[in-house]
């Protein structure tokens, strides 16, 4: 694989992660259990949309075909999306959505940190901007995990189930393929083996403090990074892309 193709594919994966997670969070707007969380969720979703926009714009530049951020977000099909399976999973209940974000952001913080040192200026600058936001998301989500895990018997039981259910989607984050390898070797990109250690340490610490149990090693689902998605992504895209699909090029 050519290095410029790998960099483009890598940037699109990051953009898709940010967009798909933000779309899931947008579904929760006006449905949070309390006002503070309502504001937090909307603000965090906005951070991810902003990151997605910068990443899609960068991908469009790398691609060189004149596609804009909107073209990349709204006119690609399901099999062209390269986001992690974890992020497209339905919101479920409050604990499910929280655990999904907690597990992803524990990874994303370290990934962005490594990307601030990569040799592609476009990516390193976006990472430096984004990490400031993702750090406080992670802090906030960790506090919620503590509250639910170390809360009532019912909240403990339910969030443990959320953790057990989401676990099978975490393996994919750390399986390096050719694209990851080229970005690591040619652009001083992230080393996923190192990032997995940091992720495991952070997740384990918070999970233990929340009096929860880390799920056992098990079979891990994968394929999102290669465009093989669960049945949920198509429905998400159908809603998200509706306007541009029905009225191509519509603006206001």
């Amino acid at each position: 694989m050519k290095t410029d193709e790998a960099l483009l594919a890598y940037t699109l994966r990051l953009a898709d992660n940010a967009l798909i997670l933000s779309q899931r969070m947008v579904e929760l707007v006006a449905a949070e259990p309390e006002l503070e969380e309502e504001l937090a969720n909307a603000n965090f979703a906005l951070d991810f949309i902003g990151q997605a926009r910068m990443l899609y714009t960068r991908a469009g530049e790398l691609e060189g075909l004149g596609r804009s951020e909107d073209d990349l977000a709204f006119t690609r099909d399901e099999h062209e999306f390269r986001n992690l399976l974890l992020l497209e999973q339905p919101n479920g209940h409050f604990g499910d959505a929280l655990v999904r974000q907690f597990l992803f952001e524990a990874f994303y913080v370290h990934l962005l940190d490594a990307l601030t040192r990569c040799s592609d200026k476009g990516l390193s600058e976006i990472a430096a901007r984004a990490i400031k936001e993702v750090k406080y998301h992670f802090r906030h989500n960790s506090l919620w995990l503590l509250r639910l895990g170390d809360g009532t018997e019912l909240s403990h039981e339910r969030v443990q189930q959320s953790l057990d259910d989401a676990w099978r989607y975490t393996g994919e984050m750390f399986v390096a393929d050719e694209i990851d390898a080229v970005v690591q070797d040619q652009f001083d990109g992230p080393d996923l083996v190192e990032i997995q250690k940091l992720w495991r340490r952070d997740v384990e610490n918070t999970v233990r403090e929340a009096t929860l149990k880390l799920p056992e090693d098990q079979w891990m689902a994968s394929g999102g990074k290669q465009g093989q998605h669960s049945e949920h992504l198509g429905f998400l895209l159908a809603e998200m892309q509706y306007l541009q699909r029905s009225f191509p090029g519509a603006t206001w």
């Binding site: 006002l35 503070e36 504001l39 937090a40 603000n43 979703a45 906005l46 951070d47 991810f48 949309i49 902003g50 990151q51 926009r53 910068m54 200026k121 600058e125 976006i126 430096a128 901007r129 984004a130 400031k132 936001e133 906030h140």
Partner: protein, 155 residues
């Protein structure tokens, strides 16, 4: 050789009148998001701006306001450049900007854990919510004068 007829310092002054649409107490210069102003020999004015938060919805509005403000002063050729590096933090807000925030009723960003009430200056305040009406603010309340107020969070 054609020389520029537009004065850079003057452009700066005009930019200092462009307000942040979400915190209209502050100009974009107070906020610290104007990184550079260049005037080319052909009188093309290039203004380099940086976004605050990635998803700040004010970014586009600010870019349009800058173009409009300079157009209205007779500068026909305005170019807006967006840079990300170094990333904006609240440290970029000027001392004057902090004072304007306080007078407007928003507690300016502070590394300290105690936030002074912008109304009565009491330090007997408490956080109501870490999140507020925009990504950059938290909601607080003063336990002495009992006024609710917004706090511009450190980033």
């Amino acid at each position: 050789m054609v020389a520029a007829t537009i004065d850079k310092a003057q452009v700066h002054e005009w930019l200092a009148e462009v307000l942040d649409p979400e915190v209209p107490a502050l100009s974009i210069v107070d906020l610290g998001i104007v990184r550079e102003v260049e005037v080319s020999a052909a009188d093309v004015v290039t203004v380099t701006l940086t976004p605050t938060y990635s998803g700040c919805p004010a970014t586009e509005v600010i870019e349009t306001s800058v173009t409009e403000a300079l157009n209205s002063r007779g500068i026909g050729n305005v170019c807006i450049k967006r840079v990300l590096s170094p990333p904006w933090t609240t440290d970029w807000i000027t001392a004057e900007g902090r004072e304007k925030l306080r007078r407007y009723g928003i507690a300016p960003p502070s590394p300290s854990l105690t936030i002074a009430c912008p109304q009565c200056e009491s330090l007997n305040t408490e956080r109501v919510s870490e999140f507020g009406s925009t990504a950059c603010k938290a909601s607080w309340r003063c336990c002495d004068c009992l006024e609710p107020f917004e706090y511009f969070k450190c980033l």
